[in-house]
């Protein structure tokens, strides 16, 4: 798993490349906590995420939950078929907003 991070128009864009699973979730959590120093609005770019399991999903849900308490927000962009299947099966779309591209997600976050 590789994590790329940048700030775009005041919004943190986190891109996860590779697999997010029980083995490497801790690494993402650690980095996420460091990003919180700058913003509470995030876009999670999953366009290059190959695999997501329930532990990885649990971590994303944990971020969503935490940010909502901090008056922040996290949107998910462009999940590929395998991770998309996990979001769909578990009905995570009920609490996470999905967008097709980063721009739409940023606009949505700015206008929330």
């Amino acid at each position: 798993m590789t994590i790329e991070y940048r700030i775009e128009e005041g919004i943190g864009v986190i891109k996860i490349i590779g697999d997010l699973d029980a083995y490497n979730v801790r690494e993402l959590t650690k980095k996420f906590h460091s990003y919180l120093k700058e913003t509470v609005l995030f876009v999670l770019d999953l366009s290059e995420l190959k695999f997501l399991d329930s532990t990885g999903l649990g971590t994303i849900i944990n971020f969503v939950k935490y940010l909502s308490e901090m008056d922040g927000m996290l949107c998910v962009v462009n999940p590929q078929p395998k991770p998309r299947m996990v979001f769909e099966i578990t009905q995570a779309y009920k609490i996470i907003d999905f967008y097709d591209d980063i721009e739409s997600a940023i606009i949505a976050l700015q206008n929330r």
């Binding site: 697999d19 699973d21 029980a22 083995y23 695999f51 399991d53 329930s54 532990t55 999903l57 649990g58 971590t59 849900i61 944990n62 969503v64 939950k65 078929p81 395998k82 299947m85 996990v86 769909e88 099966i89 578990t90 009905q91 995570a92 009920k94 609490i95």
Partner: protein, 677 residues
Amino acid sequence: MSVINISLLYVEDEQTIRDYLGDMLSRQVAELHIAVDGKEGLELFKEKKPDVILTDIRMPIMNGLEMTKEIRAINQDVFIIVTSAYSESEYFVEAIDMGVDNFLLKPVNKRKLKHLLKHVAETKVIHKQLLEQETKRKKAEEEVRNVSSELHKVLSTVSDAIWSSEMDPSGKFNYNYISPGFEKITKRDLDFFIGGPNNWKKIVHPDDVEKWETESKKNMNGEQESFDLEYRIVLPDNSVRWIRDRVIVSKLSDNRIRLDGIFSDITQAKQSEEKISNLYDSLMQELQVAANLQSYLLPQWLTFHDKIIFSSIYSPSEMVGGDLFDIIPISDTKFVVYLGDVSGHGVQAALLMTAVKSTVNMIVENEKHDVRPYFVINRINKILSKEVFFKSYMTFLFCVVDLEENKIRYFNAGHPPIIQFDTKTNKAKKLPHIGHMPIGWMPEANYSKDDESEVEINEDIITFLYTDGIFECKNRVGELLEIDGFIDFLEKYNSEIDGVILPQKFKTKLVDLNYNITTDDFTLLSFRLRPQIREKEFFFVRSLLKKTSEIRKKADLYIIDLLDNADLGGKIELIVDEFVNNIIIHGLASKSDTLIVLGIDATQDNVVLTIWDKGIVWDLPEKKKDDKLFADKDPFDTTGRGIPIIYLLCTEVRRKRYDEINETVFVLKSPGKELIF
């Protein structure tokens, strides 16, 4: 007329009176002696010892009073009656001084005399009874004095402390007795003990005060009739002693309670107990280490190669055992497989097993270029007979499995025969029992090449090697399974006893059918050529989270390659990932055996995944209906989605434990179940 039961001495000098009264007395008293003067009276008294004397005063030679004086000097009890004329009244005072008991005036009134004698007789009876009672009492007192003195002597030598007390309703103690043992044990004087439970509490060890107080309160409240507790006390020099304190409680009248107790110093016994317990613990720990080491020496439950799969089960009857086996690859297509049973079991057999196994492996290593079973057996016998086996021996089965020629070449040294089961015909058979005597019987024995055997194998054949623990197990009515029973068993239950954990399923079936398999070491090794078809595949992984991705990716690629179905591959990848993570997170039972095996059996219609693990027992959660699996869940929950995901992707999930191995089966319809989103 009744006779008065007394003896009487009548002393009278005047014959007329003597005859007159003597005649009457002889009819009225039980025994009568007559004397004519005081002197004769004294003589007769000494001789006859009568109860009563009736005497005249004035008599020749010795008068009545002189006689009375003499008699009183030797006897205080005899009743003396004096007869006198009124004119003799001057003697009265003197007579009283002499100790005369009564006077009768002459002429003697017969009725009065009779009355007096009756009174004397009655007094005599009462006196006699009193005397007897007094004697008995004195005797009893004497006995009590003797016993008490003996008891004190005994108690002063007893090292235990014995005490007895009474407690009144206000809680005040009165001690009846405390033996010297108290001072010996507590090194405190008796006044300390008399201070009662409050004083005692001060010397109870702080860690034991609570339990002592709880128990003694029950005594004081009358909740229990006895008390028996082991606890520690602290002596004045701060040393600690263990005591056993026993008290018997009895309720008395007026709400008083009697407490009788004995306490003993059990420090030495406790120290020995502790030493034994520590020794036992350390022995068990060492044995556990030995058991772990032994399990390292043996192959794990599944040994997997490209063309062959070996499965095994090994359970010693005690923590360690004397069965040994190994699978040694000589080349890609050649394997040495051996199994031995060292006589006896437990630690001795286990130590021998270790020595034997290193020797065998060393010999095999040296002969690797051309392993000839008879030659290896000869070497083993020579070395072990000389160096290791003295009173022991070993049955041994040594096989070379050749996958190029599909043959097993083997030598059987006194071991139960190989059994082969043909999955095509459902028939099992014993291989011919040629071979030779067990190893260690004769150092000079010659194990010849002619005693070797050879048998063919193919994909349908499962070959079994085992020790006698298998066929010597008994069912509930005491019937042995025996080798023929083993064969029948395989033929009868072959549909249940299959797959890669065949030995575990075999053992589970035996236990289900009430066979007792705990009396001897139980080892069963089976092997089978891997079916060379693409639809059946096995993958293996170590129990580490970072390894999960390897096995899930292999499963995904395998399905894509086999069925050209990426969607199904993705689902299988997710199932494998979720389940293997679950096994790892639940923890594996043995860190030395962390193998997780995935079997895939795929057709165009469905895919069956089987995962085997040697983890702890845990059950799958209850399966809800598909549309309820996530609808009822709090969407912000960060855990608990793994198994529901699997349930939603599979048409069937089942999990069962066979001996130490869990088998979990997942069925998916191809190209995949229609999901409800």
